[in-house]
């Protein structure tokens, strides 16, 4: 039976999982969850993820949540097909992939998610973005991208010369970010820009990006 993913293609965290499934050429069924109707807060959903968030993965008797745990599971289960997303054959390379995955999780994600929340989610709630939060997090994001610029001068991708989960996890938030007026943060850094353009050229990305449909309001 194919894996089931509960969530919607427009959600950043769901898209992370969908990218991984496509990179691994794995069949799956996407089961939409109506977030606007708060279906993710119903007991039937909470029994799958008590934190009430998408995505959730079901694979036979296994139920998983947390997108980066799901991608790790898919990458491990299907390690012998599709793209090698974890460099599993070499313990040290695998550790470097985990390291840059942690960097995405703890340095990149908090800053970029705060910006996207203010610029895209807050207006959808009928409120005004907090310019101070945006500015503070753009500055943090810039510093992270400075580190990336230097790293990507040494290796083609973040964890080495192959595309891995460490790169993949960045894609959905960066996609939304590049639609805001702050895309210069990426475009002004040549190595980061080239890396982003490479990530956007992958077939898995071309399958998932049409689902990333929340458009930020124009200035």
């Amino acid at each position: 039976m194919a894996m089931k993913v509960y969530g919607n293609g427009m959600s950043v965290c769901v898209a992370r999982v969908l990218l991984c499934l496509h990179e691994k050429e794995t069949e799956f069924e996407l089961v939409p969850v109506d977030l606007f109707a708060c279906h993710h807060k119903l007991p039937s959903f909470l029994s799958m993820n008590p934190f009430g968030q998408v995505p959730v993965l079901q694979d036979d008797d296994l139920t998983l949540f947390e997108s980066r745990a799901i991608t790790a599971y898919i990458a491990e289960k299907h390690k012998d097909k599709g793209t090698d997303l974890t460099r599993h054959a070499d313990a040290k390379e695998a550790a470097i992939v985990k390291l840059w995955s942690e960097v995405e999780s703890h340095h990149f994600n908090p800053a970029i998610s705060a910006v996207i929340h203010q610029l895209i989610v807050v207006p959808l709630q009928g409120k005004t973005p907090d310019a101070a939060i945006v500015e503070e997090n753009l500055e943090k994001l810039g510093k992270v991208l400075d580190v990336y610029e230097e790293k990507l001068g040494k290796t083609k991708y973040l964890a080495g010369d192959s595309y891995t989960l460490a790169d993949l996890h960045h894609v959905p938030y960066t996609y939304y970010f590049m639609k805001t007026c702050h895309a210069g943060l990426v475009n002004d850094r040549p190595k980061v820009k080239a890396w982003w353009e490479d990530l956007c050229s992958r077939p898995a990305f071309l399958k998932v990006s049409p689902g990333l449909t929340v458009a930020p309001p124009t200035n």
Binding site: P50, L64, E66, A95, K98, H106, V144, V147
Partner: protein, 210 residues
């Protein structure tokens, strides 16, 4: 032989996360003290070890890493046959472990660290605890601990019936919070309380306390 080195501070929660893992694996290592007050972590040569300027950094022979949870995972895999088992074999068990580690990192730590900062670390810098923040963050922590209470009613430890990295990653912040009024949130939940007593009484947890 070059051996294992940890570049950090003995009071730092992230450094302790790595030290506890090394103790669990009964590995010899050297703790190289990084002077945070002097900003040593924001300058060379430390920045070459971690361009993000955060402790800890790690070295095993010539192999270098940073990010405490990447380091603990490396230690657990590389030294799988030494000391205590910190992983759980099989892809489904490892997935449950991965999920538990993500929950600690994204749901628990973000809140628990703020409570640690407000009630303990701010005092080191002569700043005042913001009780409104403490109250707000305790509500959030309570909800996470409600989930843990349910989970620990079914399983002795968070990922399975033995101690793993998932439990280990929580220890340093919990040790600090037990010295604050936030301790009540752990005490009020019987399964969580028993789990906290268990994981903080492990010899490796005791070794990192100053």
């Amino acid at each position: 032989m070059a051996g294992i080195k940890v570049f950090g501070h003995p009071a730092s929660t992230a450094t302790r996360r790595v030290l506890i893992a090394l103790h669990e694996k009964e590995l010899d290592f050297e703790l190289v003290h990084i002077d945070l007050k002097d900003g040593e972590h924001k300058k060379e040569p430390f920045l070459s070890r971690n361009p993000f300027g955060k402790i800890p950094a790690f070295e095993d022979g010539g192999f270098k890493l940073f990010e405490s949870r990447a380091i603990t995972q490396y230690i657990a895999h590389e030294y799988a046959d030494k000391g205590n088992q910190l992983l759980s074999p099989g892809s489904k068990n490892m997935a449950i472990l991965a999920m538990g580690m993500e929950i600690e990192a994204h749901e628990f730590d973000s809140v628990a660290s703020k409570l640690g900062w407000e009630q303990i670390f701010k005092n080191f810098f002569g700043l005042t605890t913001d009780q409104a923040v403490v109250k707000e963050e305790e509500v959030k922590l309570g909800k996470v601990l409600d989930n843990y209470e349910a989970r620990l009613g079914e399983s002795k430890y968070l990922a399975c019936d033995h101690f793993t990295l998932v439990d280990l990653h929580h220890i340093p912040v919990i040790q600090y919070l037990l010295g604050t009024p936030t301790k009540k949130l752990f005490d009020e939940r019987p399964h969580v309380s028993a789990w906290v007593a268990d994981i903080t009484s492990r010899p490796s947890s005791q070794k990192v306390l100053l």
